[in-house]
């Protein structure tokens, strides 16, 4: 085979090819990690959207549970001083 009989390349020429082959591996890893990072950020965004939708739905179904609304007073709860005045 004439192809096998090809002489060895000098170091300065062979170096480019060897570097090229190893750079392929590095590029492959970087691209893969980049794609996975994008997917992870998308999953994180969807998770926060889901959390927001759940919070909105909870507020719609139970407005008293909305943040900032006063908690319902149950029998036996101790009232604060002004509320106790009104209760009298």
């Amino acid at each position: 085979m004439t192809l096998l009989a090809a002489p060895a390349l000098p170091l300065h020429t062979a170096g480019k090819y060897v570097a090229g082959a190893y750079i392929v591996l590095v590029v492959m890893l970087v691209v893969y990690v980049g794609i996975m990072a994008l997917r992870t950020s998308r999953t994180r965004r969807e998770l926060s959207e889901l959390r927001q939708e759940l919070a909105d739905r909870e507020v719609r179904e139970n407005p008293a549970a909305a943040p900032g609304s006063p908690a319902p007073v149950r029998r036996g709860d101790r009232l604060a001083e002004p509320e106790r005045e009104v209760a009298r």
Binding site: L3, L4, L11, A14, Y17, V24, L47
Partner: protein, 241 residues
């Protein structure tokens, strides 16, 4: 939590093994008498190709697990193994082309059985993703993909045997069951390089499996909490869902 800790351990082992392999390749293994410095590509190109082919066979074995049990986790594992093998296979092919150009003067040689058979296997498995994407029903998608993975996986060892039996070699045979003709230092370097690439494959597979499981769990929660319409609105995917 223990899963994440296991992945972290695997990442450290992969980094350590890769560093050891690179050190052996460039500071320990002697220069090849015929090819000189360009032969260093051998230590990355051949392990990538071997791990890629083993990954295809692994994907087939995992697909058998899915067909036997009907459990979708096997389909997910098979999908990830084949996906990763494709990436490794493409990288091996590009590295091989670079090596071919350096040592033979051509980017590609069509009359070499090793090159062409590897390309055929790669093209065969390249149809795996479009096949999955073409089937909308997840159950059918998983079943058909598993059947495909088993048939295509069985093709890999058959292909390997056919190449070994063929006569017109351009690729030299340095690895055989009787020991081959690699000197001891080159053999050690090559073994460490194969282990490093296999560890890299395992790490990336487990990383992707964990990301896919999270995504599937998110979809399941979405379906349970917001109804089927909320999940149907998400785009179609070739990946198991």
């Amino acid at each position: 939590m223990s899963h994440a800790r296991g992945l972290r351990g695997l990442i450290f082992a992969t980094i350590a093994m890769t560093m050891a392999a690179l050190a052996l390749v460039f500071f320990y293994a002697p220069l090849d008498a015929d090819q000189g410095f360009v032969q260093k590509i051998f230590y990355i190109h051949v392990p990538m190709a071997i791990v890629s082919l083993c990954g295809f066979v692994l994907g087939a074995l995992l697909a058998i697990g899915h067909l036997r049990t009907g459990d979708r986790k096997w389909d997910l594992r098979s999908y990830v193994a084949i996906h990763m093998s494709l990436i490794f296979g493409v990288a091996a092919l590009i590295m091989g082309s670079i090596w071919a150009k350096a040592s033979w003067g051509h980017w590609w040689v069509w009359d070499d059985p090793t090159l062409v058979s590897f390309l055929i296997v790669l093209l065969l498995f390249a149809t795996y993703q479009p096949l999955r994407f073409a089937i909308e029903d997840p159950e059918r998608q998983a079943r058909y993909a598993s059947v495909f993975a088993v048939v295509a996986g069985a093709f890999v060892p058959l292909n390997f045997i056919a190449v070994r039996l063929s006569q017109g070699f351009v690729h030299p045979r340095v690895l055989t069951l009787t020991g081959g003709n690699l000197p001891g230092s080159m053999r050690l370097t090559f073994t460490v390089a194969v282990l490093a690439v296999a560890l890299l494959f395992a790490t990336l597979c487990i990383f992707e499996l964990s990301a896919k499981r999270t995504r599937i769990e998110l979809r399941r929660l979405r379906r349970e909490l917001l109804g089927d319409d909320a999940v149907a609105a998400l785009r179609r995917s070739a990946a198991p869902s």
